[in-house]
Structure formats: structure tokens, C-alpha cells
């Protein structure tokens, strides 16, 4: 009970500090700038393709019905590409504008790096200058770690909600047939999926931050690990099904992101459990390091 209270006190204090500092604004700006850039590029490309289809190909005599059919086929083609042709997922996401899906996919690719930038100094930034010493005579090291992890996670939950909301509103403006009810439902789905995905990476950042006294070294090591995970997933998917290296992909968190929007509970739960397991492993690792180290 005492430990829980410590976690809550640290969580609330760290969150208040983060929100009041300019850092939260900078992070929000960075995230929204990146999302806006992706949104604009993808939106522009989608609109261009759509207008070409609507106008008919030069020299051809495509009637409006055929153009609509071609647009639908293109939508389904892109959706199939983004969902690995999973029919259940395609059906579930059929009413979501493609631009939202593409931004979501690209965001998931860059979000781990963003999370690393957000929290690389959460522990190392206090161990290096020894301000951690003021905390550890008052609270357990586990409470300090979990309190800081939760404040990072909460900040991220807020930032992702703001950005996701902005993306969905933008998509609603572009697509009049994107119904309000579908928007809200999918906003919650996309937000939840991003949060489940992100928590493992917040834990990874906590782990990297616990390993070193120097925040810059924590950040570089975090990026190295992200690259290694990306490499493991890529190699695991690229090799043949007979190659033993294919198992590498299961060791990479990003491998499990595909089913986070899956309508079937079992598929979603498997991905969610994988991310929960990664988060637990990274957090236990961080605690092990912090518990054993001299401060």
C-alpha cells in the first residue's frame, strides 16, 4: 500500500512538472508537425489519384460508375496492402478513410523514436546529476521507476489522443461520408491500439534510461535497440519459412502491431498480450538495473 502511494505521488508530481514545462508543448508540436506532414502528403496523393479517376484516364471514355468502381478497387487494394489482405480487418476498416490508415501505419513506425525522445532522460537524467538521491531516501526505487513510467505513459496517452482526434477531424472534413458514429468508434479503436503499442516502447525507454548515467548515451542506445528490433522484424519476414532466422521477427515488438486493429478479440488480445509481455520484460529489466546500481 505504501509503495502504491509512493507511485501515485511520483506519477502526479512528474506529470504536473512535464505538463507545466515547455517540453510537453515541444513534444506536442513535434508530434503534430510530423503527423501533419504525413497527412498532407498522403492526403495530396490520395486526392490526386481520386481526381484522376473521377476525370477518367486521358483518352479513355470511363463513365462515372466505372470511375467509382475503380476508386473502390483502389481503396480495397490499399486497404488489403495495409491489412495484409485480412478480410475481417478489411471489412472492419472499410469505412475508415485511407488517409487515416496510412498515417496510423507511418506513425507506428516512427512512434518508438518519438517515445525515446520523450523519455530518454527520465532515469538517467536524475542518476547522472544525482538528484535521484533525494528520492531514494523517501521512496523505493521500484516506486520511482513506476511513477516515472506512468507519467510518461500518461503524457503519451494525452498527446496521442490530441493528434488522433485532429487526424480524424481532418479526415471527416475531407470525407463527408465518414459518419460521426463511425468516427468516434474508430477514434477509440485507433487510440487504444496506439496506446497498447506505445506502452511497450515507453517501458523500453525506461529500461534504456536506467542503464546509463548519461542521458545522451541512453538516447543513442535506445535508438540502437529500435534499429535492432526493426532489423530483426525485417530479416524475420524476408527469409524463407524454412530458415531458422524467421523466428527473429517474434522477438521484435513491431511484429505484433498488425493485429492491433483486428475486429476479432482473440487476434487483438494476442497482439495486446505480446505488447504487455514486452512492457513487463523491459520494466523488470529496468527495475533490475536500477535496484542493483549505485546511485
Amino acid at each position: 500500500m505504501d509503495g502504491l502511494k509512493e507511485i501515485l505521488v511520483i506519477w502526479a508530481a512528474e506529470l504536473r512538472r512535464a505538463v507545466r514545462s515547455g517540453r510537453a508543448i515541444v513534444l506536442l508540436g513535434l508530434y503534430s508537425m510530423f503527423s501533419a506532414l504525413v497527412l498532407l502528403v498522403v492526403g495530396f496523393v490520395t486526392r490526386e489519384l481520386q481526381s484522376q479517376l473521377n476525370a477518367g484516364l486521358p483518352g479513355s471514355t470511363m463513365d462515372p460508375d466505372m470511375a467509382a468502381q475503380a476508386a473502390d478497387q483502389m481503396h480495397r487494394g490499399v486497404l488489403g496492402f495495409l491489412t495484409s489482405n485480412d478480410s475481417a480487418m478489411m471489412e472492419a476498416l472499410a469505412h475508415v478513410p485511407i488517409v487515416v490508415l496510412i498515417v496510423y501505419k507511418i506513425t507506428l513506425f516512427f512512434l518508438p523514436a518519438y517515445i525515446a525522445l520523450m523519455g530518454f532522460d527520465q532515469v538517467s537524467g536524475e542518476v547522472g546529476p544525482r538528484s535521484m538521491r533525494y528520492l531514494t531516501v523517501r521512496a523505493r526505487r521500484s516506486s520511482v521507476l513506476l511513477g516515472k513510467f506512468l507519467s510518461q505513459a500518461t503524457l503519451l496517452v494525452g498527446l496521442v489522443l490530441i493528434i488522433d482526434l485532429a487526424i480524424f477531424i481532418y479526415a471527416r472534413i475531407l470525407n463527408a461520408d465518414f459518419a460521426f458514429g463511425v468516427l468516434v468508434l474508430n477514434l477509440l479503436k485507433f487510440w487504444s491500439a496506439t496506446i497498447v503499442f506505445s506502452l511497450a516502447y515507453v517501458a523500453l525507454t525506461s529500461f534504456c534510461s536506467s542503464l546509463f548515467r548519461n542521458p545522451a548515451v541512453s538516447l543513442v542506445f535506445n535508438f540502437i535497440l529500435l534499429f535492432v528490433f526493426w532489423l530483426m522484424d525485417s530479416v524475420g519476414q524476408a527469409v524463407s519459412e524454412q530458415n531458422v532466422l524467421r523466428y527473429l521477427r517474434y522477438l521484435s515488438p513491431s511484429h505484433y502491431s498488425g493485429n492491433l486493429l483486428h475486429p476479432k478479440l482473440a487476434e487483438f488480445a494476442t497482439s495486446g498480450a505480446a505488447y504487455a509481455a514486452f512492457a513487463a520484460v523491459f520494466l523488470f529489466g529496468a527495475y533490475g538495473v536500477l535496484r542493483a546500481r549505485d546511485l
Binding site: I10, R130, R133, V137, R138, R291, D294
Partner: protein, 303 residues
Amino acid sequence: MSDLAIQLNNVSKRFGPKVAVNAVSLQVRQGDVFGLIGPNGAGKTTTFSMMCGYLYPSEGSLQVMGVSPTAPGALKGRVGALPQDAVLPPGWEVGALLMYWARLSDLPQPEHEARGALEKVGLMEAWKVQTQALSHGMAKRAAMAQALMGRPPLVLLDEPTAGLDPRIAAQVRQVIKDMRGTQTVVVSSHNLQELEELCDAAAILDKGSLAQAGTMSELTGQGAEFRVQLARGDVIIPEITSLPGVTDARMEGTDVLRVRFDGQAHKAEEVISRTVAHLLQHQVLILGVSRGRRLEDRVLQLL
């Protein structure tokens, strides 16, 4: 419960091949102001850091207020600590930071505690000041304030007056004096005059090892030694040595007579009076008498 606040048994700390603290054993009684003395690199801060649970000992065992300081949550509410060179976290107003730490220490009235502690160290004007905007002296006092919140039974202070101006340093010394008897205080410092003034007992460390530990009276020899500053006259050493209680007498230079006596069997005032009377009888004129020797002299002799 033991009357010991701190107990170190053969504690060593190594950083790679370097031995920072080597088999140190010492005890601090509850209610004492205890000094950790030694030159740079003597192992004071390392010993202090092990007492606070910041560092794990490589060998040996420590008990602080009856618990191992490295056990999770063991020191909560028992210890207030002023670590040396620990930077106050940036992005906080001093008052808000102290209240946060008071809440974390489970103190019932965080704001009252924070304000009270800042008042003790004369820093109330910094309540709304950001920690990164504090001068060195102000940051030191804010750090000192956090150690005092809640009147913990044990207060560990590493170089509490380093970098403070004389007026504030005197104020801090007074705060430490006020804690004597009701709280145990461990003070690590280079300032031997300050420690002599403040401490009931001390440990002298050198190159990681314990050179000597004891009460201030034992360390300075107050109960077994005195010096007579002479103005004029001849001292007959054998006659002084033959006085009751005197075990040794010798001249230090031309005008200081150092006398050692059996402090267990004879009261200091009796031996001093007899010696002075003897000197006056022999037309030796005296400028002054001082008991024991300065802590600084003792430390310089040991190190």
C-alpha cells in the same frame, strides 16, 4: 532497541580496482552529533553514501536506525539526508518541490513542513523560485531544508556549510546544534574547527581506512592533556613529571609546556591547578592554559 543509530562492521567499498573504503567499523550513538573527518579522497562521502543507501557496500554490513539502508523503503521517515553534489531537479519551484518530497515522505502537513524547513535555513524568499535559478548557497540551503523536514530521527549532512557565506554557515551550525540530543546527526566536513564545535564524537578517515574514532574529548585529549603558554621563567621538567597524576611533561618549542596526565584517576582541574601552582612557585609567568589540543592538530598528527 539498540542505542546505536548507525553501526558499520568491516565495511568496504571498491570502484573497480580502487578501494574507496577499506574495512571501516564504527558506531554512532543515538542523539549524538557525529563527525566524519578526513582529507579529500579519505572515503567520507563514500561512507556517507553507503549510510544513505545510495551505494552498496562491497563487503561488510551496515545498520542504520536498525535496518539495512539498501532494503527497499527502509529509510523512509527515519533519515533525512543532504547528499554532496546532488543537483536539485530542474523545473520545480522550491516550495512545490519540498512539498512533493514531504508528501513522498508521508508527512501529514506537507506545506507546513516545507515552509518550516525553509524558515530554519533562512530561505523563505525562495518559495516561488525555480530550482535552476538558485545560487549555489541557496541551492545548498534548499537541499538542507529537505533533509530537515519532518524532524527525522537521523539526519545525515555531507558538507553542509561548504560554499555558504559565514552568516548563513553560522545559522546552519545553529540548526545542527539545536538537533543535538533529540536527533542523531552525522556531519561530514573538511572544516575541523566547525566539527570540533559541533560534534560529540567523530571518526577520522584516511585513504579509505579508519584512522581513529572516539568522542571529541578522546580525540582532542581534553581529559588527559593540557598546555601552558609561558611568558618567562625556567621550567623544571622532572619536578612537573613528579606531580601527582602527571604522566609526562615536555616543552613544545620554547614557550609551551605540554603536560599529559592520568585522566581516569585524577580530575583535570586538580592536575592543572597543581601544575600552575608549581610553576608560579618557581617564578614562571603564565600567559594561558588550554585543555587538550585542537582537533586540527590531532588530525594532522594522524594523517
